[in-house]
């Protein structure tokens, strides 16, 4: 599912949010429907790890935001937060595809971290 984002004056943010495109696989990632159980477990683990990391980064951003001035906080809210949320959402979605594939192949579903 592709999202169309309006153009803004922040190309760094636009580029990063585009990176939150759910259909975008990682380098070397195969289509879930072609994967064996071993491959599906592997990719679920990769996405779980990176999702955990993004959530920890988001928590750190929110923690550091409390020390910012109003102008600084607004900048962070408009830049870092939506970027990390978009990326985390992408990883959550892709992790979901792999979790579904694991179940399809007889493995157990793993709750999100």
């Amino acid at each position: 599912m592709k999202k169309v984002k309006p153009k803004s004056a922040r190309p760094d943010v636009d580029a990063a949010v585009r990176g939150g495109d759910w259909s975008q696989p990682m380098d070397g990632e195969i289509a879930p429907q072609q994967a064996t159980i071993k491959q599906a477990l592997y990719w679920r683990r990769i996405y779980t790890e990176i999702l955990v990391m993004e959530e920890q980064v988001l928590a750190r951003i929110r923690q550091l935001m409390t020390t910012q001035s109003n102008e600084g906080r607004r900048e962070v809210e408009q830049t870092n937060v939506p970027v990390v949320i978009a990326q985390a959402e992408r990883f959550r979605q892709r992790r979901g595809y792999w979790d579904a594939r694991v179940m399809e192949l007889g493995g157990e579903s793993q709750p999100e971290p």
């Binding site: 760094d12 580029a15 990769i46 990391m53 993004e54 980064v57 102008e71 962070v76």
Partner: protein, 188 residues
């Protein structure tokens, strides 16, 4: 924030909401300098966190997450540019002006002629505000002559400090152990 498949991401060179570089109040310049300094510190905090977390990921996930570092660094570069801009504006508002042709420094109507090396050192430090430079960095970047002795830097720093004091320019040419030299606006 990862895997955008881009190699170049310009940073936020646009002003923030309410930011006006044409202001004639030096207090505004100080205000925005402080905001950008805080944002840079904030980004350093995030960068440190991402660096630490990436080290614990699988190699493939590391590669994907490494793009986060590029984004953060590009944003930091943008903030640094805005901070530099505000520093320059602050110098202007305080009546500080350098004349590269005549190698002169002027401050509030008074002026002093500088030697080539004095001028190069002062211009280098003014062009890179809010950052510290070691003796060897000054030799290589301000004077582009790494063959000079480190004592030369200390000598020229002493001379510049005297000139800045004589002109009553409200800056200190500070030397922090382990960090190096920097021009710091008094009170910042």
């Amino acid at each position: 924030m990862a895997d955008t498949k881009r190699t170049h991401r310009p940073g936020p060179t646009q002003p923030l909401e309410g930011e006006d570089i044409t202001t004639t109040r030096w207090e505004d310049a100080r205000h925005w300098m402080s905001i950008y300094a805080d944002l840079l510190e904030f980004k350093r905090g995030i960068l440190a966190r991402v660096h630490r977390d990436i080290a614990n990921l699988q190699p493939l996930a590391q590669k994907t997450a490494a793009v986060d570092l590029e984004i953060i660094e590009a944003q930091m570069h943008g903030y640094q540019q805005r901070l530099d801009l505000w520093y320059r504006r602050l110098w202007e508002l305080h009546g500080l002006w350098l004349d590269p042709e005549g190698r002169m420094i002027r401050h509030q109507g008074r002026e002093v002629a500088l030697t080539k090396r004095e001028f190069q050192l002062l211009q280098f430090l003014l062009d890179h505000p809010h950052r510290y430079f070691s003796t060897s960095q000054i030799l290589g970047q301000a004077w582009v002559d790494p063959a000079l002795f480190p004592e030369e830097v200390r000598n020229y720093v002493r001379r510049l400090r005297r000139i800045l004091a004589d002109l009553a320019v409200p800056v200190d040419l500070v030397n922090k152990p382990g960090k190096g030299y920097s021009l710091v606006f008094r009170g910042s």
